[in-house]
């Protein structure tokens, strides 16, 4: 049932709608003047020079890197274990656990952020990059879990059963049968977790301490002056996360192709279980 | 206009990119006929059906329904209805809403809907199923509902795209009976697509044998079976032994052909002298036990395989002198021969048929296996 011209047009319009505003930000990051409006006076890298020299930008970027890396690693371990456990079990706890694991996506960031703020203040634990990492962990978990579980459920259980029949126990099976098959997806999901953590603002806003992450830094810059240096930071942020996504995409499609000989975009985005 | 055929396909060709799915196909289908498009996967039969339905627009040619050119008309504006290979009953609707779908789209009143749905369900012998949902039905039942859903609109032309291929054999055979009955009771024109030649012969008034985008032969099942016009048709419709012979004497009623050392009579009017293909159906092969001396005038062979089939038996006989294998079938409770027996092969002059052959062409093309895979048109789904 080929789609008609109308849906094609809306799709084009939709893509423009999604990307033009972002491209405008990129464009003006290269502006010679401090103005953010037309006419466009010419290209220059001065704003990038300025932010690369700024110690605050460097510090914020470093903080984001630290937080994102920690988040990705911890989530990798926790969510992979959880996904593996869920997919290999038939326990009646699966339903409530599933609910718990997906809860962070359904709650507005406002609630998660404030709840954590309250918790930390109650425990008299001062806000820092640690609290930010914890918050990101909670937020990012469902995304990783979803991807990992989808990948694990796609595996042929007969392979693991064969290994068990040959005498292998749990950890060995995981290490030598499961992991070699799913590691591309896991690495991809970790990259996604990293990117989501790097980008995160809404929850971070409440639990951040004296050291800002990059988005927080952008926010405070907005309070002061709006000039293309913000565009420059934003462009770098955008480029970085998109690059990470490209890596994720390449890895998961390579892994998928190895397994199945073909690539199904739906399955890759974790949006659908394969048939 | 009363003179027009119910369906006329005129010079239809269709390409998918560089691939020609149909080449200059023409066919007239009379009102009330049951015509089957028969052929292996990829031959274009489904493409042709979809063009008649209105899902594809042919690259060239016209389609006329009752004299009206509908080539440019989309499917929902044609007076045809289709039964698909898979039931495609809408899962969010119950049986009533499924069957009444076309009526609801057309704005038919509620009372009329109820009456006509009941009528359609009676036709397929599923009265009372109105409130069921598709996941509560078996495969055969779903296809019958799909049939009802198509027929409730009282289409003049019903198109069926291999509707039985997804069903189990037993159910398929029952469904064939149902289809014939429904065809009789409704009097509608049926255009059927299948790769199963047995099904085609059981159901059709006429069969159009298709190969590589063309219609090779059109005729009543008995004609296509007894008098195939090409080796392809001979091998595709039913089983066939195709042997290279030479026509030495061409007569008005009977001719003589030379096969290896022996000569045989063939009742095939006025063939050309020279090389030809002899088409011999397995059930026409007569086997006589014994050594060459005991069975003069027959082809010498050694039985290589015997298979018991319940209703009879099948044999494969190797003819060492010709380097060919012949399939034979016979009735009887016990196969009369064992492997490695020596036999003589013969047949009656009226039980065989001749087809033209190129000189030097000594091996018949291998029969095309009709696997239940769909043509490119359906592979996109």
């Amino acid at each position: 049932m080929s789609p008609g011209r109308f849906t094609g047009l809306v799709t084009v319009a939709g893509m423009l709608f999604l990307w033009l505003p972002l491209l405008v930000v990129v464009l003006f990051s290269l502006h010679t003047t401090a103005s953010l409006s037309f006419p466009f006076d010419g290209f220059s890298l001065r704003w990038y020079e300025r932010i690369s020299e700024s110690p605050e930008v460097r510090a914020a970027a470093r903080n984001s890197l630290v937080v994102a890396t920690s988040t990705a690693l911890v989530t990798l371990v926790l969510a992979t274990l959880a996904a593996y456990g869920m997919s290999r079990s038939r326990s009646r706890w699966r339903a409530p656990l599933s609910l718990l694991f997906f809860l962070p996506i359904t709650l507005p960031g406002l609630f998660i952020g404030i709840a954590l703020l309250i918790a930390f203040s109650r425990l008299e634990y001062s806000l820092s990059l640690v609290t930010v990492t914890v918050a990101h962990l909670v937020y990012v978990f469902p995304f990783f879990f979803l991807l990992a579980r989808a990948a694990l459920e796609r595996l042929d259980p007969a392979l693991e059963e064969a290994a068990a029949d040959l005498g292998a126990t749990g950890w060995t099976i995981f290490r030598r049968v499961t992991l070699p098959q799913v590691w591309p997806v896991l690495v991809g999901a970790a990259c996604l977790a990293f990117a989501l953590s790097f980008d995160e603002f809404i929850i971070t806003f409440f639990v951040v301490g004296p050291d800002p992450t990059l988005p927080l830094f952008i926010w405070s810059s907005l309070r002061r002056t709006i000039d293309p240096s913000i565009n420059a930071i934003s462009t770098l942020l955008l480029a970085f996360t998109v690059l990470l996504f490209v890596v994720t995409f390449a890895l998961t499609s390579w892994g998928e192709r190895r397994r199945r000989g073909t690539v199904d975009p739906l399955v890759l985005t974790g949006a659908q279980e394969p048939r | 206009m009363s003179g027009d055929p119910r369906v006329r396909i005129e010079g239809v060709s269709h390409r998918y990119g560089a691939v020609a799915a149909l080449e200059d196909v023409s066919l007239d289908i009379a009102d009330g006929e049951f015509v089957t498009l028969l052929g292996p996967s990829g031959c274009g039969k489904t493409t042709l059906l979809r063009i008649v339905a209105g899902f594809e627009r042919p690259s060239a040619g016209r389609v006329l329904l009752a004299g009206e050119d509908v080539t440019g008309r989309p499917a929902h504006k044609r007076a045809t209805n289709m039964v698909f290979q898979r039931p495609t009953l809408f899962p969010h609707l119950d049986v009533f809403a499924n069957v009444a779908f076309g009526l609801q789209v057309a704005g038919v009143g509620k009372a009329d809907q109820r009456a006509r749905v009941r009528e359609a369900l009676e036709l397929v012998r599923l009265e009372g199923y109105e409130r069921r949902r598709s996941h509560e039905l078996s495969g055969g039942q779903m296809q019958r509902i799909a049939l009802a859903r198509a027929l409730v609109n009282r289409p003049k032309v019903l198109l069926l795209d291999e509707p039985l291929s997804a069903l189990d054999l037993k159910i398929r055979l029952d469904m064939e009976v149902e289809l014939r009955r429904v065809h009789r009771e409704t009097g509608a024109t049926f255009v059927y697509v299948t790769h199963d030649q047995r099904e085609a012969m059981a159901l059709s008034d006429r069969i159009a044998v298709m190969n590589a985008g063309r219609i090779e032969q059109i005729g009543a099942p008995t004609d296509v079976y007894r008098r195939p016009t090409s080796v392809f048709a001979a091998q595709f419709v039913g089983d066939a032994n195709v042997l290279p012979v030479d026509v030495v004497e061409a007569g008005d009623e009977e001719s003589t052909v030379q096969l290896g050392d022996t000569r045989h009579q063939v009742r095939c009017p006025r063939p050309q002298p020279g090389p030809a293909w002899l088409v011999l159906r397995p059930e026409a092969v007569e086997m006589r036990a014994g050594t060459p001396e005991e069975t003069p005038g027959t082809l010498q062979g050694i039985v290589r395989d015997v298979a018991f089939r319940g209703t009879g038996f099948g044999c494969r006989i190797e003819l060492p002198a010709l380097g060919a294998q012949v399939k034979a079938e016979g009735r009887g409770a016990t196969p009369p021969f064992d492997v490695d027996d020596e036999v003589g092969i013969d047949w009656r002059p009226e039980s065989c048929w001749l087809l033209p052959r190129e000189r030097g062409d000594d091996t018949p093309p291998p029969p095309v296996t009709s696997e239940p895979e769909s043509d490119p048109a359906q592979a996109r789904a």
Partner: protein, 307 residues
């Protein structure tokens, strides 16, 4: 009884059959670390949060005893009602707009045979990763009086004075929210269309349905559940948003999320803020329940398509 040949005796002391192993308690225990983490860092804080709403708040602190005073104050507050109404409207607008735009795009993605499909999917998922803040910033610079649109129109000579209706109003807030959630909605609906094979649409067309009827009778019912969940998702997250209204909303379109944020970081009224939050949460739960109930009643919640 005639002797029946016995099957050969089973070999002794074999390891338990693999199927039995699959049923052991073990695997579920692997979820424990993650579950504990979430319980500790999500459920417990939320519980504390809930308790706060029943206490008395004062300057970044709360004190007992338990009381319903906060909730009573919210219910009577004119301001809160106004904010809630505004949030409701923006949430609904954002949700409905996202879905309406996403439906044709998801349809195109699902049924196109064009090779650009992968590119479009890539663009959608990549845009998903653009930071929330970058998007807000982008729209601010585009819609403002000296923004890209106005300066562009001015440079082209189309307008003399900048269009002020573009920003600092509900329109800008909704636009930004749609921009944020559209990728997600497209993907959810696209996934929902997966089981709807083209054959179903062809069957509908064969039965006389043009595109309007096909959408109404086949496509929309098939994706009712994903659409419902997407609507809820966008509605809930948009209504509770506190950054976008501050940045793009202007004075007339403050939303309730802002009120909460201010309560916690501005006035320090923890209890009051908590009460608003949980009232909101209760409202959201009611919405979830209504949508789920609606889908169940229409029997659209668990459709099984033949493959």
């Amino acid at each position: 009884m005639s002797a029946v040949a016995e099957p050969p005796a089973a070999s002794p002391a074999r390891a338990p059959a693999p199927r039995e192993r699959g049923l052991r308690l073990g695997p579920v225990l692997l979820t424990l670390p993650a579950a504990l983490t979430l319980l500790l860092f999500l459920i417990a804080p939320l519980a504390a949060f809930a308790v706060y709403s029943f206490l008395t708040g004062s300057l970044y602190e709360v004190s007992g005893p338990l009381t319903l005073e906060n909730y009573r104050e919210i219910a009577q507050s004119e301001l809160n009602r106004k904010l809630a109404r505004n949030s409701l409207i923006v949430g609904l607008l954002a949700a409905v707009s996202s879905v309406v735009i996403a439906l044709p795009i998801a349809y195109w993605l699902r049924y196109t045979t064009s090779r650009t499909k992968t590119l479009v999917l890539f663009l959608i998922v990549a845009s998903f990763l653009a930071s929330y803040l970058v998007r807000i910033y982008a729209w601010r610079t585009i819609l403002g009086a000296e923004g890209v649109i106005n300066s562009g129109l001015g440079a082209l000579g189309i307008v003399d004075e900048p269009l002020t209706f573009l920003v600092f109003n509900r329109f800008a807030v909704t636009l930004a929210l749609v921009h944020i959630y559209l990728p997600y909605v497209i993907l959810v609906i696209y996934a929902g269309l997966g089981p709807l094979q083209p054959a179903y649409l062809e069957a509908a067309q064969d039965l006389g349905a043009g595109w309007v009827q096909r959408w109404r009778r086949v496509v929309l019912p098939a994706v009712a559940a994903p659409v419902g969940s997407a609507l809820l998702f966008v509605f809930v997250l948009s209504a509770a948003d506190y950054v976008t209204p501050q940045f793009l909303g202007g004075t007339a379109s403050v939303m309730i999320g802002v009120q909460v944020q201010v309560a916690f970081q501005g006035t320090g009224d923890y209890a009051g803020g908590a009460a608003i939050s949980f009232a909101l949460l209760a409202g959201f739960l009611v919405c979830y329940g209504l949508v789920a109930l609606g889908l169940r009643l229409a029997r659209l919640d668990r459709l099984r398509f033949a493959s």
